[in-house]
């Protein structure tokens, strides 16, 4: 055989820029790439799904900006709330950019066609949300802009539609499996390698700049608001390539997940006046957060629910409490919270006007991820060295604007502000960059992975391992953690990873082999879990969403710093490094709501 015939069959695409993921961050970046580089620019968006299926579409309650359309507000107040909400692990220079850019970005989104709810004066309407306050904590403020309770849906639609208008090229139903880095972790990123779901063919996308906007990895937990497809693909790919993952121990548990199902009931239900009650009918948040009550930050409310349950005040002694929205009235429920009311009716068979709604905290959002600067450039180490040609934005990235705990409505803002900024920065890099060099080893590696999985005749089913992983991560690395729990969890995850090396794909066909996709996603989930547990075990303090029963206090002396977790290529424990938090304006203070 000659070398040429031994080379794997790979379909090649030469583009200027590639965006992986078609949620809000990816689509806004694609839009800015087209706007900045012109109609001739070859901009490709690759997604596992159809773009309109992206999980941005599931976001509900709002996107915040200090527009002040209904009452006085200032972007500096928003900045403070973001820093405090993040329990002072936020990089304050980055949060400043986000909160300042928010106003202009929301206006731009309206210009693109976003169907915001309106005030009587025709301006963008705004409502309250957890942790957003006037004048640094005095009282709740109306800062969340919204489109009923489907704000994410409206954002996703608007950006997808404008990308269609500007003729962005979409590669739907391709699963990206590797980066192209022909010179290793110290060199450029020159593209990605993907598996086309419809044919199982390998495609090599070569580009002068690559953006990962691949979303989160909530499926490492059993009870989660996340879509089945949120398996941390991009995060794990970066990790496997020797790049660090920042602050992985900070995972947000949203207080009002639908009991057992995990889907979210928007914080907007409390923003519009709903509240939590325990099994004794008591509004218990008044005891935990006297000023903000049910609108304290999410980590605080989730822990309060756990404490009520631990004290035997769950409903009927079980592991849930109630959300009470009965008093909001038909008009608010039907006009401002129609989808939420529909979820309650469809999945519980309950009537929100007359029934209490069972809720429990649900794994919702990764504050951590691929470290970036404020223009989406991926950082290769804790010293701040950028990886040429590689960008990340949205939930898969860590700027860090959310620190230890993200405020509600700041996720949609994050994807818009930093998706947009990344797109603009990428356009500049594309103008200056030379033609990308292909990474043949990456192409061959992905081909081998596919072929081996399809050829293996028997083994364990990926779903069995996936279920065990989600179970132990939820029970051992959830709202409350201890050294003992995390130690057991780490051992269990390692054992699961060993079993995962021998899974069987029953579907041996090439067309739409979603069984193969499941097996590949399992590997990504395991990598995300490994970095999460290792980072959590090392951090011997409680801060934001990372609550250690054995270290209940925040420790600003030793732990006011970001974790950078590097994968151990030999399969051992990840190497952890640390980077100081950037503090420019707000010195750390005790966090009281």
């Amino acid at each position: 055989m000659t070398d040429a015939s031994a080379r794997p069959r790979v379909r090649i695409h030469d583009l200027d820029a590639v965006v992986v993921g078609a949620g809000g961050a990816g689509l806004y970046a694609a839009l800015e790439l087209k706007r900045n580089l012109g109609p001739e620019a070859r901009i490709g968006v690759i997604s596992k799904l159809y773009p309109s299926r992206s999980h941005t579409g599931a976001a509900q309650g709002g996107v915040c900006a200090a527009l002040g359309t209904t009452e006085e507000d200032h972007w500096e107040w928003h900045w403070f709330d973001t820093v405090k909400g993040g329990d002072y692990l936020v990089d304050q220079d980055a949060a400043e950019v986000m909160c300042h850019d928010a106003v202009e970005t929301i206006i731009n989104l309206e210009h693109l066609g976003m169907p915001f709810n309106r005030t009587e004066e025709g301006r963008i309407d705004q409502r309250r949300f957890g942790g957003h306050t006037r004048n640094e904590g005095e009282a709740p403020v109306r800062r969340a802009c919204f489109a009923a309770d489907r704000t994410g849906h409206a954002i996703l639609q608007t950006l997808f539609q404008q990308c269609i208008r500007l003729d962005v090229a979409f590669y739907d139903e391709y699963q990206v499996l590797d980066l192209q880095m022909p010179d290793g972790p110290d060199g450029r990123v020159t593209g990605v390698v993907a598996l086309q779901t419809s044919t199982s063919e390998i495609h090599s996308f070569r580009a002068k700049a690559v953006l990962f906007a691949t979303g989160g990895f909530g499926k490492i937990f059993k009870v989660t608001s996340n879509a089945h497809t949120l398996t941390g693909d991009g995060v794990a790919i970066a990790y496997r390539r020797g790049l660090p993952l920042e602050d992985m121990e900070f995972f947000q548990f949203h207080p009002t997940g639908m009991y057992k199902l995990g889907f979210l009931l928007s914080e907007a239900m409390r923003g519009e006046g709903g509240f939590l009650v325990n099994g004794e009918g008591e509004r218990f948040m008044e005891r935990y957060a006297p000023t903000m009550k049910d609108l304290a930050s999410r980590d605080v409310v989730s822990r309060s629910i756990y404490q009520e349950i631990a004290a035997g005040r769950g409903v009927n002694g079980k592991d849930f409490v109630h959300l009470d929205v009965r008093h909001l009235g038909a008009q608010v429920l039907n006009e401002k919270l129609p989808d939420m009311s529909g979820f309650i009716r469809t999945y519980f068979g309950l009537e929100p006007l007359t029934d209490l709604v069972p809720i429990q905290p649900t794994a919702h959002y990764a504050m951590g991820g691929i470290p970036t600067d404020i223009d989406g450039r991926v950082l290769a180490d804790e010293g701040g060295r950028a990886v040429p040609g590689f960008y990340a934005a949205g939930e898969c990235a860590c700027v860090s604007v959310h620190g230890g705990n993200r405020l509600g409505t700041n996720s949609l803002l994050d994807i818009l502000v930093f998706g947009r900024r990344a797109g603009i920065a990428m356009a500049d890099e594309v103008r200056a960059a030379e033609a990308p060099v292909a990474d043949r080893a990456a192409e061959a590696g992905v081909t081998t992975t596919r072929d081996e999985l399809l050829a293996r005749p028997d083994g364990e089913r990926p779903a069995v391992i996936r279920a065990e992983l989600a179970e132990i991560m939820f029970s051992h690395c959830g709202v409350y953690r201890t050294a003992a729990l995390l130690g057991e969890c780490r051992t269990a995850v390692r054992a699961l990873a060993e079993r995962a090396a021998h899974v069987v794909v029953q579907d041996k066909g090439r067309r739409y082999n979603t069984d193969l996709a499941d097996a590949l996603e399992l590997g990504f989930l395991l990598d995300c879990a490994e970095a999460t547990v290792a980072s959590a075990a090392a951090r011997t303090e409680s801060r934001g969403a990372h609550a250690r029963d054995d270290f209940p206090d925040r420790d600003d002396v030793d732990w006011l710093k970001h974790t950078f977790a590097f994968r151990d290529a030999a399969g051992g424990t990840p190497r952890l490094a640390y980077k100081p938090v950037t503090i420019t304006r707000f010195p750390p203070k005790p966090r009281v709501y």
């Binding site: 299926r53 999980h55 693109l112 539609q161 979820f343 469809t346 999945y347 779903a463 739409y512």
Partner: protein, 234 residues
């Protein structure tokens, strides 16, 4: 409870023709039909193929014909579906594998109606365009569409004429035709006035029944039809 799940299967790589498979699945009454499909795929037969993502009715991936009606598998509960559940791919689109159909034509039709706001002028005060709550209400209903295809693939007019642009595309045209900020209504109405546009609707109302978002699809089509007539494009 034990559910008897019948699924219409077809793998063009190995099957000469579609056939029915039957599975027995343990489920709670509160489980969704999507849970049944996952039980089969994960633990019984990994070749069973379907699309899904969010699992709670907002992404639009898993429209299927369940017990004879178009529904989202993640929105239909076992307690409503009963102990015998029949699942087939939606009609009117080429079956690629099992419950997964070729959506290319569907997306082409969506794109054909200019599904984006056209207005390159922005207010001189640097703020958002103004729009009253009443103006926004004109397209609130059609802005809910998640492009699941339940309406179009439940439409007899579409089954008999695959070139018909279909209810989903018209809903998305409506979304912009009735947006006070948009400036391209004329062009969209011309597209709608095409022989394969709104006139193909026979007001059978299957689309209204099929829509998991509760959009009054037929009303939207009628409103677009009225605009088309009123502006002389008919």
């Amino acid at each position: 409870m034990e559910i008897q799940l019948r699924v219409r299967r077809y793998d063009p790589e190995s099957d000469p023709a579609p056939h029915w498979d039957e599975f027995r699945v343990e489920a709670e009454p509160s489980d969704r039909v999507l849970d049944l499909l996952h039980q089969v795929k994960w633990y019984q037969d990994g070749t069973l193929t379907f699309r899904r993502s969010c699992g709670h009715g907002v992404c639009g991936s898993d429209a299927m014909l369940i017990n004879g009606r178009n529904r989202l598998a993640c929105e239909y509960l076992v307690k409503d579906a009963g102990s015998r559940v029949t699942v087939e791919p939606v009609r009117g689109m080429r079956v690629i594998k099992d419950l997964l159909v070729d959506m290319d034509g569907f997306w082409d039709k969506y794109r054909s109606v200019m599904p984006f706001l056209v207005n390159d002028e922005v207010p001189t005060d640097g703020l958002e365009r103004r729009q009253s709550p009443e103006e926004r209400d004109r397209f609130e209903d059609t802005s809910k569409c998640i492009m699941c295809g339940a309406c179009t693939t439940g439409c007899p007019s579409f089954w008999s004429n695959p070139d018909y642009v279909g209810p989903a595309a018209i809903v998305n045209a409506h979304r912009f035709i009735f947006d006070s900020r948009d400036t391209a209504a004329e062009e969209r109405l011309e597209i709608m006035a095409d022989a394969d546009g709104v006139w193909r609707c026979r007001t059978i109302f299957n689309c209204v029944e099929a829509c998991p978002r509760g959009i009054n699809v037929t009303r939207a089509i009628m409103e677009v039809t009225r605009e088309v007539s009123g502006t002389g494009h008919g």
